[in-house]
Amino acid sequence: MSNILNWIGMHQQTIYIVILMIFLGIEVIGRVPAVLHTPLMSGANAIHGVVIIGAIIVMGKADPHNYVALGLGFLAVVLGTLNVVGGFVVTDRMLEMFKKRK
């Protein structure tokens, strides 16, 4: 129990961020029209591609002789990049079509 309390104390900043972000995330897209549901989902999909940062850190810290770690990290970087780049490009393609009619 004291462990948990300790841990909360150590990470209070992070916990505050999490709580505020939950409210912000809900607030920020609260008024989206149904037309934009798909592009918004796709855009959000690209944004959670930030995992790539974690993948880069894993890769960058891996021991150059530990091929398992290198392989895992490399795969993570490839997949993360696919998520980020593919996500933003697909979203842009969807939205490009909305723009034309204006």
Binding site: T38, N45, G60, V84
Partner: protein, 503 residues
């Protein structure tokens, strides 16, 4: 240097928030996407060159850049090549990649952490005592990231398979109970791994003999892979029974899952950009899921419990019974349809997935122009969930340069149907099924529909009499005012166009 990276992350976080905000407004959406992409690029480049841990910079640059180049080219290529109709699958696939990435990060981190656990406790007393309790938190986060990431990955792949028709809905009796059981097993195992580590940390860590700590960590290592495997399995079982028509909602849920998995990574590395981005998507994705459900007038629980999946058996027999009493439908020829339409005052086009599959949006726009030249008022009635995803039809029609003013949302369209002479339904089915209003036993009962029956005549274009995506029969086709025009949407539209031109 570290503070420069902090600034990069700060900017990235702000662009994510701004990007999401702008994405929810049609006028700013595209810019919002680009801004978020810019922030992401900054965060990635910053991480590669500025990240340091205890003064040590990252290495293995060759591997990192190779990974980014491969992923970048692959991602761009896939996203550029994909057909507009296959967009939802693509999003699902990319989402799965993100989930897998999060799971892989957890795996590598577990490897690192379990190596540390096995270290002989001779280093320094101070180091160990401080280290262990915080490690339990880390372990918890690693496991959470692993579980959520794997579920998201496996689920997304199944959703992808279902959307492109490679996979069928599979449901067996008691599946929900089995699913809950599976999830419980995963959680208990994860809990056990943490308790093992916890037990070690409560005994004064300095006195743990190596002999004791070694087998313990190897048990947790085995358990860890079990957790991974079972999470994947759960992801598959989670999505399998849910009907194909509900996939957009499922993708949206999995999307927010991946967001949370990414946030776990943020927790682990104390990385604010990952944390804000992940949680933001997790929260926004959850709300978006609820909004999508609301657009279909269904509850999230209803989607997840899979009333579509559960009702397929009942729906099929019901449909068979319905077919008997409804009797026959009537067909209309191309030339008759062309005639009716060109002498109408007002024509309403109801596009659906059939139009998307046939890539008929351009032909559709051409028909609209042609009729407008003849003095016919032409409008499109867009159901919020027409196609495979909310907004799918708007995107497709916008691609074909259809003016935004001609697209009517469901409420407006329903007001105008009574004054409409001809409605032409192009490959839409469930969204015009009157059973949603009249038949409480129907799985789509309660979903708002386009009231095409209110119009004077209704022409339905379909490839065959097969039921729609929800697998239920449509009474509309047997109504006296309805006539069927069979064939591929694009072919039919082209024939209609040439027929109208020759009148």
């Amino acid at each position: 240097m570290g503070s420069l990276l902090t600034i990069c992350y700060l900017i990235a976080s702000v662009t994510f928030i701004l990007g999401l905000k702008m994405l929810s407004n049609p006028a700013t959406a595209r810019r919002g996407n680009l801004i978020a992409a810019g922030g992401m690029t900054l965060a990635i480049i910053g991480t590669i060159f500025l990240y340091e841990d205890d003064g040590v910079y990252l290495h293995n640059y060759g591997w990192i850049f190779a990974g980014i180049v491969i992923g970048g080219i692959g991602g761009t290529f896939a996203a550029r090549k994909v057909q507009m109709t296959a967009m939802p699958e693509m999003v699902s696939l990319f989402n799965g990649m993100g989930g897998a990435c999060a799971a892989l990060i957890s795996m590598s981190e577990f490897g690192r952490i379990s190596n540390k656990m096995g270290l002989p406790p001779t280093v320094t007393e101070g180091w160990h005592v401080v280290f262990y309790p915080s490690m339990i938190g880390e372990l918890l986060i690693i496991l959470l990231g692993l579980i959520i990431g794997s579920i998201s990955f496996a689920g997304s792949i199944v959703a992808w398979g279902k959307l492109n028709g490679r996979m069928k809905d599979i449901a067996f009796k008691g599946q929900h109970i089995a699913n809950i059981g599976l999830l419980l097993v995963v959680l208990v195992m994860a809990g056990y791994i943490v308790t093992i580590a916890g037990r070690e940390s409560t005994i004064n860590p300095v006195h743990i003999p190596l002999l004791l700590s070694e087998p313990v960590t190897s048990t947790s290592r085995v358990l860890f892979y079990f957790v991974f495997g079972l999470s994947l399995l759960y992801g598959v079982f989670f999505v399998l029974p849910i009907g194909g028509a509900d996939m957009p909602v499922v993708i949206s849920i999995l999307n927010s899952f991946t967001g949370v998995a990414a946030a776990c990574g943020g927790f682990l590395y104390d990385n604010k950009a990952m944390l804000t981005g992940g949680i933001l998507v997790g929260a926004a994705g959850t709300l978006l899921t609820i909004l999508m459900c609301r657009a279909m007038n269904r509850s999230l629980l209803n989607v997840l419990i899979g009333s579509f999946g559960g009702a397929t058996a009942g729906g099929a027999s019901g449909a068979a019974a319905g077919r008997k009493e409804q009797g026959s439908y009537k067909e209309i020829s191309i030339s008759d349809a062309a005639m009716v339409m060109s002498y109408a005052h007002k024509v309403m086009i109801v596009p659906g997935y059939g139009l998307a599959v046939a890539q008929a949006q351009h032909a559709c726009h051409e028909l609209e122009k042609l009729l407008t030249e003849k003095g016919v008022e032409v409008k499109y009635a867009i159901h919020p969930v027409a196609g495979r995803m909310p907004g799918h039809m708007n995107v497709l029609l916008a691609e074909a340069d259809v003016s935004y003013d001609n697209l009517l949302e469901m409420e407006q369209a329903n007001e105008q149907f009574p004054s409409t002479d001809v409605v032409i339904v192009l490959g839409a089915n469930d969204v015009v099924n009157p059973a949603a209003r009249t038949d409480p036993s129907s799985p789509i009962y309660g979903m708002p529909i386009l009231d095409v029956e209110a119009a004077k005549a209704c022409i339905v274009n379909k490839r065959s009499m097969k039921p729609g995506y929800a697998g239920i029969e449509n009474e509309l086709f047997f109504r006296p005012r309805t006539s069927m025009l069979f064939g591929d949407a694009k072919k039919v539209l082209q024939d209609l166009i040439s027929e109208i031109k020759s009148i």
